[in-house]
């Protein structure tokens, strides 16, 4: 079986500073992987690099996504291919309404598949359904992208985009940060609704509490640009109790 995502010995730097130092990780269809680790260990770099954000230089290693070379693709091509990054700090875009933004994204995905753009009526219906599931007021569709949204609303909007675009791999970059308990539950339910035997989730988090809602198959500890420990959900509990110090030592 082809791995959904296969990262092999990946090293990358930002400017002159090496961040990732020989990271390897494979995600099979249907799996949920959690990456935990202290600040500065390279978690967000990994997420941004996978999504194709400019400013990261890969110095060695490969990343295969569904059997194709991910690193040679532009950010938009990676999205079309089925990769999705839920941002840690979703940016506000005043002047572009959520509706316009979501439609532009869906239209471009359809175009990349050689299909016609989805009908506006069906699109609106689907967005409303998802907004309802995620406890987002439908009024938000008319507002600028993330404009004036609370931290929790921004994260729920990320999950709405995830559900709408139906990728095969979701990378969640600290999606739990800034969420209260209710929002955490709503976001967790959103991600669980996305899970299927054919797609995968890579979630980056500081805290075990997200893993109460989204049960991972594997938990990895990232430290100084490398995965230093891999285990099951029990590893997250152990980290919560002991911190990272005992592993790095």
């Amino acid at each position: 079986m082809t791995a959904l995502l296969a990262i092999d010995n990946l090293s990358a730097r930002v400017g002159e500073k090496p961040i990732l130092k020989g990271l390897s990780l494979a995600i099979q269809p249907g799996e949920v992987h959690a990456i935990m680790g202290p600040n500065g260990s390279g978690k967000s770099t990994l997420a941004n690099l996978l999504a194709g954000k400019p400013g990261y230089e890969v110095t060695s290693g490969t990343v295969q996504f569904n059997g194709t070379d991910l690193l040679s693709q532009e950010a938009e091509e990676r999205s079309h291919a089925g990769l999705f990054l839920a941002f840690q700090y979703p940016v506000e875009i005043p002047g572009v309404s959520n509706m316009e933004f979501l439609k532009a994204a869906l239209d471009q995905h359809a175009a990349a598949r050689g299909e016609d753009a989805p009908a506006t009526g069906a699109f609106i219906k689907r967005v409303r359904e998802l907004a309802n599931e995620l406890d987002l007021n439908a009024e938000f569709l008319k507002r600028g992208v993330n404009e004036g949204f609370s931290g929790g609303e921004k994260k729920r909007n990320e999950i709405l985009q995830l559900r709408l675009l139906e990728p095969t791999l979701a990378v969640l970059d600290e999606t739990d940060s800034g969420l209260d308990i209710d929002a955490l539950r709503v976001v967790g339910e959103g991600v669980n609704a996305f899970r299927s035997p054919t797609n995968g989730v890579l979630m980056i988090t500081h805290y075990q509490r997200l893993l109460d809602h989204i049960r991972p198959n594997f938990v990895h500890v990232l430290s100084d640009g490398q995965i230093i420990r891999t285990g099951g959900p029990e590893l997250a509990l152990e980290l919560e109790e002991k911190g990272y110090g005992w592993l790095a030592a």
Binding site: A51, G52, K53, P54, E74, A75, E76, R78, S79, H80, F84, L85, F87, P90, V91, I93, P94, G95, V96, E100, F101, A104, A105, Q108, H109, A112, G144, V145, Q161, L165
Partner: protein
Amino acid sequence: MGGSPLKQPETPVPLTQLARERWKYSRLSAFEEAVKPSQDAQDAMTLSGVDTLDALTAAESRTLLERLRPDTGDYPLLATVDRDAGQMHALRVARQQNATIDLVRVAGTSACLIDIAPDAQTNATLRIDAAEASHGTLYVRVGAGSHLQLTTRIIDQAALSWTYLGIDLAEGASLVLNQQLIGIGQHRFETRLRFLAGNARATVRGAALAAHGARFDQQVTVEHVAGHSVSDQRFHTAAMTKGRSTFNGRIHIHPQAPGTRADLANRNLLLDDSAEINAKPELEIYTDDVQCSHGSTVGALDPEALFLMRSRGVPEPVARRLLIAAFLNETLSDADRDDASAAIERYLAGAAP
């Protein structure tokens, strides 16, 4: 300020010899050469919606123009192109009248004077649609408690233009002014608003897109002569390949204007290495107890916003177009935006790789 202040010179100084800062970034000779004896002012402009309006008498026109006409030392072109009251379209919107006026400058030198009586409503547009260089003035007095909604529109105009817009606001008057400057050509637009009494309010929004080789120059002066009024200005400008934009926004709060609230925000987007933006916000305050803000920013598109759109599958050229249009849409009013939005889309589509 560069150069010496120029106060009503006995002998007009040739424009090209002026070194005043306000003209620093505009090629004056282009305007000077374009000032030619033109056809009668009555033919320079087409007016619609004015059938129900009274004309001002010659004496009324003269008196009003004396009040509204600024010191030509501050507006040197005005001395050359302005018309006598007798040569202007001079109209009155009567008390409690509700008027819709469309003014289109089609050629030469146009001049229009509008006196809005108290407690009236006026919805007006001033558009330039001229094949050759044109100049023009529009003076408006907004009477006590009256409302003026005015859109000025210069879209797709290849020929050079210069415009002076002067508006005086009386007690409790309100103004919504939308200024659109989109496309090509060389255009200088001078706006002066004066608050002559309290409880008046002006909301000013400007959207400008300087496309290939365009030279835009917007000069805005807001004078709070009397206190307890509010001005709120926001101008967004984007400059494309070889486009050049100059913006000077000055707020002047006079000694007799306490309790004034005045804000000016000017944001500029540089879309190409060959584009040029000159922006200066100015604030002069001569009294206490006022709330003011002013600022200009110049920058490129937000890389984080661009990446968010690309990460959702929107290709970079499309994402750039959406973001630029959004930036300009922020200062286009919902009313009167269709032509401007369509023109913006057109220029941005042409510019995409």
